[in-house]
Symmetry: C2
Subunit: 329 residues, 2 copies
Amino acid sequence: MGSELPIVAVDAMGGDGAPGVMVEGARIAATDFGVPILLVGRPQELEQAEGIDGITIVAASEVIGMGDEPAASVRTKKDSSIVVGAKAVKDGEASALLSAGNTGAAMAASLLRIGRIRGVSRPAIAVPLPVLGSTPTTLMDCGANAEAQPEWLVQFAQMGAIYNRTRFGVERPRVGVLTIGEEAGKGNTLVKETVALMEAGEWAHKCGAEFVGNVEGGDLMSGFADVVVCDGFTGNVVLKALEGTTALAFDAIRTTIADSEFSEASEIIEPVIRQLEPQHTGSAMLLGVKGVSMISHGSSSPYTISNAIRTASEMANSGIVPELRALMA
Amino acid sequence: MGSELPIVAVDAMGGDGAPGVMVEGARIAATDFGVPILLVGRPQELEQAEGIDGITIVAASEVIGMGDEPAASVRTKKDSSIVVGAKAVKDGEASALLSAGNTGAAMAASLLRIGRIRGVSRPAIAVPLPVLGSTPTTLMDCGANAEAQPEWLVQFAQMGAIYNRTRFGVERPRVGVLTIGEEAGKGNTLVKETVALMEAGEWAHKCGAEFVGNVEGGDLMSGFADVVVCDGFTGNVVLKALEGTTALAFDAIRTTIADSEFSEASEIIEPVIRQLEPQHTGSAMLLGVKGVSMISHGSSSPYTISNAIRTASEMANSGIVPELRALMA
């Protein structure tokens, strides 16, 4: 393709506005950012992408829907767009995968096709949360593992630290454990055992992180820590709560201003709001698999998709996967 | 005291601004709302409250601080303001207790002094979350039980339903379980077992509730359900995340507007923001003890404290405790 950027396989059939939004997002990423793309899906639905410089259409006849059971459908729908995309990464035809479809299926396809890094107990989903005036705080696990073991959370901390340094340039990430009180000894059994392991271990030294102890829910977007670890149930509930509530609240404020005599104030409020909306901070990344696997919101706009494609390519270029492999070996 | 309203015992020594804020809150509640108050604390620090109509100062020589271990300090500091206040409720001298101090100590004092309702496995903290244009959604447990059993969550659902009807007048509260996907079968072991119990049981009929199944984090403030149950770890983390994030976001928006040429727009934004801030929606209530026990934020203003005192008196008047006793018998 002539480009030096790593190739991204894009699941064209996943997401609320698929394939149209995905095609448009791919077009922006290929045209404006120069990212070479394998656009995976039903060719007859991807005609708009034909002839766009930098986009190669890869045929996949099946689609895994939002309601499909993830692991089962990844096994049975072998010619689905997400499975074919994951296989392209496994086979080296692409360096990264992006899907805005069924999150569980994207995880299952990544795990089953791209495969887990040796030494990683469980891959986990890292999501950057916005911090005003600073780099984001990475929350993980945001839903890959509804239940977790203390040892897994220590690995999440290590993977999250490397992710935070690679993606946001934080030299020595401050890592904490999400719990219900600032004081040591607060939390549930998982948290207490995790904190005990973390205080005793060499894990932080190995990944260049600093352990900052307990982090309360109120400090997730305050910049108190760079990486916050938790089980995937807690992480997903909190992430959805933050996304949903900020969306509701900001829409109410936007409407109030727009309907008022101060409607021009929208212009000064909008940039602040966009900085504070978790969904604009960046796509989720599944850490712990042998390739870059990124997951976007189903409701993403073409512009958001194009940014996610660019980030996926950059992460493939960054060397994060080899670094994680070396750490976990 | 001549008043028809139930008497509220107020822990004058707990909270960031104690005793000043508590005295002022008590003064407003007594003077403006006519709530008779037992103001419990060190008399020499409560001189400002002397002579206020409706306020009786009750001496307690000790204070349980924010850093004190809750259960141990409740046992050893028998003459602390929170323990003396709880004892006043137990002895029938007051009908409700309000503290803005150490939450764990307020819970422990309520449990050990006021006592648990027979049949209640574990009392739990109910917190109303704001819903724009509708009655609040009650989240519980918000931190009394870091770990929980499915059977407890069914009781939380029942107690929460009765609370929601009593406090907000919702005739037939819609009750759901907080989890990580809309579809049945999503969640951790606790959630799956709880949902199975709830689908099978007669619990909803007994308390006049309607079971609406899974509730995701994003629907906590959307009005999708009237009561949402979870373990106290998840509930506390989510509550703190919502409070902390809305505080940060709204402060950023307030500052942006105030510093701009549209500073007068503050007047139209402020009422919307106040409706959306969880900390203004109402105090937490410990459900499952043989009396009304309310817990306010340590950072509460005198006005917020006065509202909490009024709510505590109203809840004592509402008959919620006898109703819970009858339900659980």
